[in-house]
Amino acid sequence: MRSLIPLGRRRRIRTPLVAVAASLLAASTLAGCGSSGPGGGKDTLEVWVYQDGSTTIQEDFVEQFNESSDIDVDLVQIPGANYQDRMRTAMGSSNAPDIFFNWGGGSISDFVDDDLLVDLTDTVQSDPELKDAFIPSILDAGAVDGHYYGIPMRGVQPVILFYNKTIFEEAGLSAPETWDDFENAVDTLLAEDITPIALGGLDSWTEQMWLEYLLDRIGGPEVFDRIRNGDSSAWGDPAVLRAAQEIKDLVDKDAFGNFQSLSQTDDGVSTFFAQGNAAMHLMGSWEFANQNTNQPDFAQNDLAWTTFPAFPDGAGDPTDVVGNPTNYWSINSQVTGDKLDAAIEFLKVSASQEYAEALAANGDVPVTSNATDLLDQSPAPEFAHFAYDLADQAPSFTLSWDQALVTARATPTLDAISKLFAGQLSPEEFVDTLQNEG
């Protein structure tokens, strides 16, 4: 009987293989129904955006754009803490977005190195209307090695020290102008059993804001400039150690309260702050629009803002700012021909007057050159002017570290910051770690 087996084998194979092929085919058909949307159909542009309170503006303008364009834009909204990770993962895949939201700088420099982005320099240079629409420094902040890869599409986002003026008044405090004022405020609030500072420890980029400002105030913007340009030894600057020590003091004092289980990306911190549980909150300017939407009472009655306190003997100018100049749209270099033309048309939308007006009406601070005229249309003109002037008059605008550094350096930096706040690294160890890895 054994001799029969080889004879039968060749033919027998078919039955099972056909069955499997059929079932796989069935499965792929099934899968097909679900995946018909994006994925680079011929006549749509897949546009990825981080989903938050401002996304409605992009929704509206996409709809408008699609009415007049032959090539439709399909807006894909990605929420949550790891937009950047997921966008980056997708960029390495076959189904990368055609146009995507990003922070410029280090967040896209890997893509530039691998020629994954459309160089927009010529487009911008040859179109004065586009080029002059934006504040030059903001447009330049998104450039990599002098080439434009992104067009600004949101408001300016300086990091601002928000505080609860009601709590401050009750405690007999006023907005801290110097670090001494600030420390005094922390001590007073602690004595009153109020958490001085709201902080979202689950998102280490919010912890990072404290270090960004402290390092700027103590050592000036030059220290981080050196780091950003690839000099890891600049982490050894005494100003970094000093900044880390200030953080450690604050953590040891309990100035941040129960910060480790709070998150900024799910609005936990903002709610905590709005409920009057904490007196201060260092956050990007978008926090105002956020509070104004979610806790309007708080935003109108209690919310106040100021610049980050000056350091007594620090090298940094107290009007320096850290944060994100804005967000940008970039185009995938796979996009060519008519689609590329349509993509560029879509990017130009954000240079339009209407777009800037919509941003302003949402509480954002537009980065177009004529923004000052629009600020009065903001739901909170007072805040809009403050944020605009802060960014406009700053001698230095340091890009958020995790956006300025390439991914391979940004993550270890955030990790080290998170461990510093968790007390797992002493200030000295923090400096050592960053010199080796950051």
Partner: protein
């Protein structure tokens, strides 16, 4: 089908070809990746360009990486704690649920509920509950006018939260195993012991526990292998923090791979994970005599 009938008319046995589709499919999506992850651990790959060979660089870095040592230690700790918490609970509940009374059946059905949800759903539920600002902890602290308890805020607290949440999720499963095991203990053993005047507690230690020996082994092997790969819970509740207090090996791999995009290095971590998981399960199987059991029915 006609073809097959001519093959071996007397017994009509299928050829090995029937297994080929399944084998190829499995090899393609599990076997090949296993080989590839080993290859990738010798490359530098950022997820954008193609991987390029760097020899043992990742491995020497891994060897010196304090984070990896911490992650292995945390994984082991989490595994041991999970085992130590879940085993007694599941054992006692399983033996109790093996009884025939109706109320036990009803309660068992309720105990079973956590097993119906995904780790993601449970992670979100427990994250909400442990929220030091809006969660149950905050509310209880308010009642007693205490400072808000914040289990997720301390290093050991966060680890215990993971231990607790995974126990909550997996104890029902192991309870079922023990329930099955306990039901197979012949009643006559207990009758005899009762006649000798042995009390409940003594019966438990002299009859139930020894009889469940194999069940304990089965359950423990599953528990340990499962605990080595907790990932969803960590990602959702603690994101590996505070600091790196709950960064276990799979989470470290995820972070290195899909946050830092050091995919070559992450592959080295992944290989280490495979080695550790395989070694631990083989070791347990060897040490406990699991492999000598005639079948796991014996252990169920």
């Amino acid at each position: 089908m006609k073809a097959a009938s001519s093959a071996s008319p007397r017994t009509g046995r299928p050829g090995i070809a029937w297994a080929i589709p399944g084998v190829l499919y499995f090899v393609f999506f599990a076997g090949v990746p296993l080989v590839m992850v080993f290859y990738l651990s010798f490359t530098d790959w950022d997820g954008l360009a193609n991987p390029h060979w760097v020899g043992g660089e990742n491995w020497s870095k891994l060897w010196d990486d304090q984070r990896m040592r911490d992650a292995i230690w945390l994984s082991v700790l989490l595994t041991v704690l999970s085992w130590a918490v879940q085993t007694p609970l599941a054992l006692l509940l399983g033996v109790w649920a093996a009884g025939k009374q109706r109320n036990r059946a009803v309660l068992s059905a309720i105990f079973f509920l956590p097993l119906l949800a995904s780790s993601v759903a449970l992670g979100l539920l427990w994250k909400t509950i442990f929220d030091s600002n809006l969660g149950l902890m905050a509310q209880i602290s308010d009642w007693f006018n205490l400072d808000n308890a914040d289990p997720l805020g301390s290093e050991s607290g966060a680890l215990w939260v993971i231990v607790f949440v995974s126990a909550w999720q997996w104890v029902p499963f192991h309870t079922l195993i023990y329930q099955g095991g306990a039901r197979q203990i012949p009643r006559s053993f207990y009758d005899a012991a009762s006649i000798d005047g042995a009390g409940t507690v003594r019966q438990f230690f002299t009859i139930t526990l020894p009889q469940l020996r194999n069940t304990i082994v089965t359950s423990s092997v599953l528990m340990v292998v499962g605990a080595l790969t907790y990932f969803d819970t960590v990602l959702i509740i603690t994101r590996g923090g505070p600091g790196d207090a709950t960064t276990i090996v799979p989470y470290l791999m995820y972070k290195e791979g899909f946050d830092s995009f050091n995919l070559g290095y992450a592959s080295a971590v992944a290989v280490a994970l495979v080695v550790v998981a395989t070694a631990v399960s083989l070791l347990m199987v060897r040490l406990t005599g699991f492999s000598r059991m005639r079948s796991t029915r014996e252990g169920m």
